[in-house]
């Protein structure tokens, strides 16, 4: 909602500057989003009266005007192309050397035999409005004199853009805003009191109104005017509308808009001669009925679209937009002026179904004042008579079968203080409510407050408490410190296991990321258990953000690729967050996941080490380390799996018998779809599963008192035999004192037979209660070697 400082001042006396008004409105809950000073953008332009007009010799469109520019500048001759130049009219004269709004400088100029000394200006040339046709004609009610600086006539103003919350329809008119200021500063609110001169003929002689849908249209009024002259609006009207962002159309339409911005009551003017039988019928449309609104668009209506019709056809969509077929135009002589109260629900439905939002629907859906309908109509009639002339029929057709009564709300000052934590005296509260236009009656335990119909938001005691707080001033309510900070509780509110995972991964070189939960279909499908399990947003911002992620990996991969494209050589990322799916019965489900990816350099080349690229074993190591720590298990198993987004299906991560997630190299075709040419390795775990198996308590195991015995075994195995199988046999046969098995060398080469590989393990034996003998260890090694030979054909590597 835009309005101006000078406009507000018409209803309330302001001692405050525009900046102070803006601050005050903001602190009253009417946030001023912008305050713009509007000044004259021209100089050297004065008021002048046109004395005579005659054609320029030899021209069919130029006029030679003699103008009186007052005693200081005298008479001047100017050449002018405008059609509305007439003798005796008052106009704006740019003197030689004047500067116009666009910066143009006015100089004497020759037109054949005649010289134009100055220039008669249009409103657009002066930057007052956008109207460029014809010169600006000044309405001299006796306040203008020749030679007067025009800047003193069209003075400066300040435009406020106020963010009006949806509960305050009354502030969608300047009067509502003025009322807030009058209450805040204890100044009188001066409402317009139109003086109407009505003709003896009664409105009913021309107009009949039949409301067939009273629940959607509780009140409908109509007034009738004839002999009106539809013409461009006077400067004050056009300029004020344009200052608040509305285009000037003609005097009649401009007046309806002006009154809407003044009272918050939308009005509609019909060309009476285009209404069949001068009849207004308010009723619902037929499903599928078509109608052309005044913006020229064909609209298909619904059975709950409220229409304004005449005897034979619809002429407007009630409260939303008029029709092309009954619009006021230059030819209009007779006007039917509608002022009505449509129910917010009905307008909201129509607005939503037809997807049209207008200044009118915006106000009706929030709720206009049903008791203010006639006042707005009267005000508009006054202004139409003043700007377009004509005659006004006596009376108003007012169909209001079931008047909406002001509500009475009981208000307890003690309750207000109790909710606010204040000690505001009752009298002060009473004064605030009264200044807001509420009627307050003292009763034994509080006040009976009658709320006028222009405040539909005040229905309960708590609403009145807010009014009191607003006008008492939120800034005067002192903060009550009740929660001293207890630093010892810091961190208590977080998932401790997750904190551990985050810290571990960060410590291990991973960057924590936040990726959008919304991704594209292709991204989602590549990481899903089938398209039917994916979750689609019905009204997405675009295809790229239309699906909820079924996995954290697509986001991590996209972030990886962006970093690679920015020439980052090492991209180690992780994320935790929700993933989404639909189950077979259509139910939505979401799960917490933790995932990470690695790509690029694992170790940089330094002055003493070689560069090494990250690979599967780096991923495996990190996953094992993190899962061991989180779950309190020694063994994390990787089992071959079937995830399509992992190369050869990847691996399931198993803790005991629970599959907690997957890991592996991301499939090449998936990487290709991201234009990623480097290998990326990733893991993803279901966080609830990890938590379910996690053993977070630790129990101390005594530190061995007796020395360990280490024994290295260099073995020769078939190339195809997995090292894990060898290790498994070692563990199985290693006996109770085998503490660790570590593969420390893998060799293939000329020293050993083709098709074989050498695996070197370091075995550690240790007993809790004594020092092991050499013989014991030798026996175990013998047994291991026998089993390896028998079960796997693995032998000691000959020296």
């Amino acid at each position: 909602m835009k309005t101006t400082y000078n406009w507000i001042r018409e209803y309330v006396e302001l001692e405050a500057t525009p900046e102070e008004v803006a601050d005050r409105l903001t602190m009253l809950g009417l946030e001023v989003e912008s305050l713009e000073r509007v000044q004259a953008q021209f100089q050297g332009v004065v008021v002048a009266q046109i004395l005579s007009v005659e054609p320029v010799p030899g021209s069919d469109h130029l006029w030679l005007a003699v103008v009186d520019a007052g005693s200081r500048y005298g008479k001047m001759t100017v050449v002018c192309g405008a059609r509305n130049v007439r003798a005796k009219l008052w106009a704006a004269l740019a003197l030689p050397g004047a500067i116009l709004a666009d910066g143009q400088r006015v100089e004497p100029r020759s037109f054949g035999s005649v010289t134009s000394q100055g220039m008669l200006c249009s409103e657009a040339e002066l930057g007052l409005t956008s109207r460029a046709e014809g010169i600006l004609l000044l309405d001299n009610g006796g306040s203008l004199w020749t030679g007067q600086d025009l800047r003193d006539v069209v003075g400066e103003d300040w435009v406020f853009e106020v963010n009006v919350t949806p509960n305050r329809p009354d502030c969608l008119g300047t009067i509502g805003i003025a009322r807030e200021l009058s209450a805040a500063w204890g100044k009188e609110l001066r409402l317009p009191r139109p003086r109407l001169s009505e003709e003896p003929e009664r409105v009913e002689e021309w107009v009949r109104v039949d409301v067939q849908a009273p629940e959607a249209c509780p009140r409908y009024t109509a007034r009738f005017l004839w002999d009106v002259q539809v013409a461009p609006s006077p400067l004050w009207l056009a300029r004020r509308l344009e200052l608040v962002g509305m285009r000037s159309i003609n005097n009649v339409v401009d007046v309806t808009n002006y009154v809407m911005l003044e009272f918050g009551q939308p009005l509609h003017a019909f060309d009476y001669d285009r209404l069949d039988e001068g009849t207004i019928v308010v009723k619902f449309a037929r499903e599928g009925e078509e109608f052309i609104t005044l913006d020229g668009k064909l609209r298909t209506l619904f059975s709950d679209t409220l229409l304004i019709c005449d005897r034979s056809k619809p002429v407007a969509i009630a409260g939303v937009m008029g029709g092309e077929n009954s619009e006021v135009s230059e030819r209009t002589r007779r006007v039917l002026l509608e002022s009505a109260y449509f129910s917010p629900d009905s307008i909201r439905r129509t607005k939503r179904k037809l997807t049209i939002s207008t200044d009118s629907s915006y106000r009706f859906e929030r709720g206009v004042d049903p008791e203010g309908v006639v006042a707005a109509s009267n005000r508009a009639c006054e202004l139409i008579l003043r700007t377009a002339g004509g005659k006004l029929a006596r009376g108003i057709v007012d169909v209001y079968p079931d008047p909406i009564r002001p509500r009475t709300v009981f208000f307890r000052p003690s309750r207000a203080n109790q909710v606010l934590g204040t000690a505001i005296p009752s009298r002060e509260m009473e004064g605030i409510l009264r200044r807001l236009g509420l009627e307050v009656q003292e009763q034994e335990t509080g006040y009976a407050v009658t709320v006028p119909t222009f405040r539909p938001d005040l229905t309960r005691e708590i609403d009145l408490i807010e009014e009191v707080a607003r006008h008492y001033g939120y800034e005067r309510i002192h903060p009550d410190p009740v929660a001293p900070i207890d630093e010892s509780r810091t961190g208590e509110g977080r998932d401790q296991l997750l904190e551990k995972a985050r810290s571990l991964l960060v410590g291990l070189g991973f960057f924590e990321t936040v990726n959008l939960s919304l991704i594209s279909r292709a991204q989602a499908e590549a990481f899903s258990d089938g398209p039917e399990t994916l979750v689609k947003v019905l009204n997405p911002l675009g295809e790229e953000l239309a699906w909820l992620r079924p996995s954290l990996l697509p986001g991590l991969l996209a972030s990886t690729v962006r970093n690679l494209n920015r020439r980052q050589p090492r991209v180690f990322l992780f994320e935790w967050g929700k993933v989404f799916a639909r189950s077979a019965d259509g139910a939505y489900c979401e799960k917490m996941h933790l995932a990470g990816t690695i790509c690029g350099i694992f170790a940089y080349r330094t002055w003493r080490t070689q560069e090494r690229a990250a690979d599967f074993y780096d991923l495996k190591g990190v996953v094992e380390e993190v899962l061991r720590d989180l779950t309190g298990r020694k063994d994390i198993r990787l089992e071959a799996s079937d995830r399509p987004w992992l190369e050869e299906g990847g691996f399931a991560l198993c803790v005991d018998e629970t599959k907690v997630g997957y890991a592996g190299q991301l499939a090449r075709d998936v990487l290709k779809s991201y234009d990623c040419e480097q290998a990326v390795y990733g893991f993803e775990v279901d966080w609830e599963r990890v938590k379910a198996v996690a053993i977070t308590e630790r129990i101390y195991v005594p530190i061995p008192k007796f020395p360990p015995v280490q024994q290295d075994l260099a073995l020769l195995a078939d190339e195809t035999l997995p090292a894990g199988a060898v290790e498994a046999v070692i563990w199985k046969r290693g006996g109770p004192y085998l503490q660790s098995v570590r593969l420390f060398d893998l060799y293939r080469g000329p020293q050993i037979p083709a098709g074989k590989k050498s695996l070197a393990f370091a075995l550690t034996f240790q007993a809790e209660e004594r020092t092991l003998t050499e013989q014991e260890v030798r026996d175990r090694i013998e047994e291991i070697l026998r089993a390896l030979a028998q079960e796997l054909g693995v032998t000691l590597r000959p020296r």
């Binding site: 960057f511 972030s559 002055w607």
Partner: protein, 342 residues
């Protein structure tokens, strides 16, 4: 008996052998010098041999003298050779250089947004608030209706919503967690709800279709608007320092009454006016208010018996202020050059 001559010759000969051994095990210049002093010094072995030579009968002296002279010549030549070798080796010797770069330990960082979220959560935890969570796929009931936002109401226009099928949608705020928490327990309820939220906002420097919010709620007997101002003030000062002031402005939310927007005094200019606060001296943070009695109706709390306050805050907004980040999209881009700064 003439034994002294033979003994001296034998000693000269064994001294030569010993020198050969010793010379083989020295390399440092200092060691070579010590060796030279022991053999060639004024009180050295060879000087000693010469003094003993003087006591031999004259006829024995030429033979023994020659042997001692030969030894001296040999030792001096060897010492010179050793010195030369040592000098050339000294040039190639490894000298410890502490200015070589230390080992590069690769480590990651916590995401700046989540660092701020952790900080916010910790502050409220330390003020006795519990942390509650709820689903990101919500229903219309929890996201709107139970928060006193009826269908078709204009206040729904305040938040553009992503819809799923049926009554489901992506939560537009974490306020539904309030309702879920109040449904589960009777007052007192003192909780915060951090998490992701979604609104149909086209991404630009200050908007993102996904963002993070922390919602707070305290319901009990005698909870007041003054308490709300107290908790926000304590939070502001803990987060941005003791000199931060707060400002509450009336506003409208369907689920609070009275409702407020709250601002912090600008952390850059301390309220004097700067680019960050658009010369107002204030930074808009978020909304708050007293829980609307209608909301209590949905969870069956008696609004005469209990009052409560609720507040929200955007984590991105606070993180952007804290780190002076001008574009919200940086949080979701995960550029390592960005992440590594925090």
């Amino acid at each position: 008996m003439g034994g002294e001559k033979e003994r001296l010759l034998a000693e000269v000969s064994s001294a030569r052998e010993r020198f050969e051994r010793e010379a083989g095990s020295v390399s440092l210049v200092a060691e070579i010098d010590a060796l030279r002093i022991r053999y060639l010094g004024r009180k050295g072995l060879i000087a000693d041999f010469f003094s003993r030579l003087a006591q031999l009968p004259p006829q024995d002296r030429p033979v023994v003298g020659k042997a001692i002279n030969d030894l001296r010549a040999y030792v001096s030549a060897e010492i010179d050779r050793l010195r030369a070798t040592a000098a050339s080796q000294a040039r190639a010797e490894v000298v410890f250089d502490p200015t070589l770069p230390g080992t590069r330990w690769e480590r990651g960082r916590f995401h700046p947004l989540l660092q701020v979220l952790d900080e916010i959560v910790d502050i409220f935890t330390s003020m006795g608030f519990s942390v509650e969570t709820g689903p990101e796929i919500e229903t219309d009931y929890y996201n709107f209706e139970a928060l006193n936002i009826p269908p078709n109401h204009p206040s729904r226009d305040l938040q553009d919503t992503f819809y799923l099928e049926g009554p489901h949608l992506l939560r537009t705020h974490t306020s539904p967690v309030q309702i879920r928490s109040m449904e589960k327990q009777r007052p007192p309820v003192r909780m915060i709800a951090p998490g992701r939220c979604f609104r149909k906002d086209t991404p630009d420097a200050t908007h993102s279709p996904m963002f993070h919010q922390v919602e707070g709620l305290w319901v009990d007997k005698g909870v007041t608007f003054a308490h709300l101002k107290g908790v926000i003030l304590a939070f502001a000062q803990k987060l941005f320092g003791k000199d931060v002031r707060i400002r509450f402005r009336p506003s409208f939310f369907p689920f609070t009454e009275p409702s407020a927007e709250y601002d912090f005094s600008c952390i850059m200019c301390k309220g004097a006016g700067c680019r960050i606060c658009k010369n107002t001296g204030w930074l808009e943070i978020s909304g708050a208010g007293m829980v609307d009695p209608a909301v209590f109706g949905f969870v069956d709390y008696d609004p005469e018996e209990y009052t409560g306050y609720a507040f929200g805050m955007g984590v991105e907004r606070i993180a952007m202020l804290k780190y002076q980040i001008g574009d919200i999209r940086l949080f979701y881009d995960n550029d390592l050059r960005f992440l590594s700064q925090f």
